[in-house]
């Protein structure tokens, strides 16, 4: 058997570490850069690497939505707002405000949670019994049937509530921005 013909899997540890390193470095750059546009670009890198991680988890639909919404949509609006800010003035201001102590405590708590999950993960979230099938080609359909299917759909109500919340936010933004409609 030819070694190259055996379709090497892409979801190798190498790619996991590469994408994770990109995410961590990007995340650090987001909070350490003084220039807001550089931070935004680092955040985009982080989000794209995250989309790559979703792909490794056999969730192509989530990855595509991540790119489409976060990297392509929300970050453009971020940049749109950042460009209206005077960069010279913000660069001179203090990087961290006075709540950094609270921030450290919160970050420490979150880190503790991660360590707990990492060490006791197998007992907290047991893997499903039997062989796990990666239905890569069915991911989109699976998400759809979880959301909308009459029998299997467990999340339709919460999904609709979330979209209602977004609608309220849109209307609120219009009402606040426009004095006279």
């Amino acid at each position: 058997m030819n070694p190259i013909a055996t379709n090497p899997p892409v979801a190798t540890p190498f790619f996991f570490y590469l994408l994770s390193a990109t995410m961590i470095i990007g995340g650090i750059l987001v909070i350490t850069r003084k220039n807001a546009v550089h931070s935004a670009l680092a955040l985009i890198t982080t989000l794209l690497a995250q989309a790559g991680l979703y792909l490794m988890l056999y969730a192509p639909f989530v990855a595509a939505v991540q790119i489409l919404l976060y990297a392509g949509g929300i970050m453009v609006l971020f940049l749109f707002v950042i460009m209206l800010i005077s960069i010279e003035r913000t660069a001179k201001e203090r990087q961290f405000n006075k709540q950094w102590l609270v921030g450290i405590v919160a970050a420490g708590a979150l880190g503790g949670l991660f360590i707990t999950v990492y060490t006791k993960g197998k007992s907290l979230f047991p893997l499903p019994q039997g062989p796990v099938s990666y239905a890569e080609g069915q991911n989109t359909q699976d998400v759809a049937s979880l959301l909308y299917d009459w029998h299997k759909g467990a999340y339709m109500f919460s999904f609709e509530i979330a979209s209602l919340l977004l609608l309220v936010a849109i209307i609120g933004a219009v009402v606040m921005a426009k004095k006279r409609i």
Binding site: V37, L68, M83, N139
Partner: protein
């Protein structure tokens, strides 16, 4: 070595899969290089064609000096751009200024990974194909915005702001039109909808109907929305406000020169080809030949498969006709010979395309490219005829016309597709 040759040959017996799906790295690389090269040639050809066609629309001659009928003008332009001084403004944000053109080019070229030139002629087929194309092409706006901001100059910044507002608004309408097509794929038979680009064309093949004609006029309206939104997405006239030359000099790429500017140029044209190929795949049957029903059957298949060869022979014929019209002065001797050589190459390609195995393999690529070429002509035609929109008019069209039409279209498509279920439910309700 033997194993390597076996590996290369093994894909040739595979007639149902793209190299990406078959996992064949060698052929995937070959396809990537072919697509990249073909795209570059197409951009060069578009450069010449746009100048010539626009000129003839405005009763001018266009480029005439470099080569016969200015045929070598794109090469001269390319050399000029490469030799130009590469200027980075002193006050610019160097790093971002440097990165921005690459973001645009990467986004514009990456989408071609999933463009289906034929059932097996694509680099790969993803089950999220259309989402991938929309997502990656939406990344190009990041490059434009950062380019405008990094120049640290007024006109580029205004251009970048306009561009981001415009692209975000028209993406919504574009997405709605695309979703109506995805609904149509699933309405052929229950629960077999697909997002894959190849799957969408196969759904049209199975339904014996291009989606532009499906649920008439709903498919046509969806196509119309997409056709308008895609021009705004690619910043072309009449929606070329981010680079409106009468107001903003050159918009977001005012401060760019030389090679970096040519990257923006390359990205703009390959993005135009990319969105056109989305439109062709989604509404115009992708690689399928025209008139599958009215002129169906094996005989017509045979006749239509001669089209690529005939087209190239005709192009060669036109070239030879023009060779005879060249001035007879000895100064034009080399040009005349060159044009004759070009015509001979075109004719030779035409003859090669008549060979049966080549003909069968290439006809799908030909129909896809021909449809995309039609869109490219439309782009030039729009630029020659429509006046530029004002920015508030642009926003009004996007949010108040295209978006409501898109939502209505989506609801109507779903209702028409499910009409039998709706009808039976209605009857049940009435009976109670």
């Amino acid at each position: 070595m033997h194993a390597l040759i076996d590996y290369i040959v093994s894909y040739l017996h595979n007639e149902t899969q793209t190299p990406g799906a078959a996992g064949n790295i060698f052929w995937a690389t070959v396809y990537i290089l072919l697509v990249f090269g073909g795209l570059s040639v197409a951009v060069i050809a578009m450069n010449w064609l746009e100048r010539k066609i626009l000129a003839h629309m405005q009763v001018r001659l266009g480029p005439m000096r470099v080569g016969p009928h200015g045929l070598l003008q794109p090469i001269a332009d390319a050399i000029k751009l490469l030799l130009k001084e590469d200027i980075i403004p002193a006050e610019a944000d160097k790093l971002v200024f440097w990165i921005a053109p690459f973001i645009v080019v990467l986004a514009a070229f990456t989408v071609f990974v999933v463009v289906p030139f034929g059932p097996t002629h694509a680099i790969t087929d993803m089950n999220i194909g259309i989402l991938f194309m929309l997502g990656v092409s939406s990344l190009s706006v990041l490059g434009i915005v950062t380019a405008g901001w990094a120049s640290n100059s007024h006109y580029p910044l205004i251009g970048a702001l306009r561009s981001s507002a415009q692209m975000v608004s028209y993406e919504v309408a574009m997405g709605l039109a695309v979703v109506s097509v995805i609904l149509m794929t699933s309405l052929n038979a229950q629960g077999v909808g697909t997002l894959s680009m190849i799957g969408i064309v196969q759904a049209q093949q199975a339904g014996h109907e291009w989606f532009i004609f499906k649920f008439f006029p709903l498919g046509l309206i969806g196509f119309g929305i997409f056709a308008i939104a895609m021009i705004a997405e690619t910043n072309r006239a009449p929606f070329d406000l981010p680079e409106a030359e009468s107001e903003l000099t050159a918009g977001f790429h005012t401060e760019y020169s030389g090679f970096r500017w040519s990257l923006f140029f390359l990205a703009e044209y390959s993005a135009m080809i990319a969105v056109s190929s989305i439109a062709v795949t989604l509404w115009l049957g992708g690689w399928l030949r025209p008139f599958p029903n009215a002129l169906g059957g094996a005989l017509w298949d045979q006749i239509f498969s001669f089209f690529p060869g005939i087209t190239f022979l005709a192009l060669g014929g036109i070239t030879f006709f023009n060779v005879r019209r060249m001035p007879k002065h000895p100064l034009f001797r080399i040009q005349t010979l060159g044009l004759a050589g070009f015509g001979a190459v075109l004719g030779l390609i035409g003859i090669i395309l008549f060979i049966a195995p080549v003909r069968e393999r290439v006809s799908d690529i030909f129909w896809f490219s021909a449809k995309v070429a039609g869109f490219m002509y439309l782009y030039i035609w729009y630029r020659g005829t429509f006046p530029r929109y004002r920015f508030d008019q642009l926003m009004k069209v996007g949010w108040k016309v295209l978006l409501p039409t898109g939502i209505g279209l989506l609801v109507l498509t779903a209702a028409v597709g499910m009409r039998s279920e709706l009808w039976s439910t209605l009857q049940e309700v009435v009976r109670r």
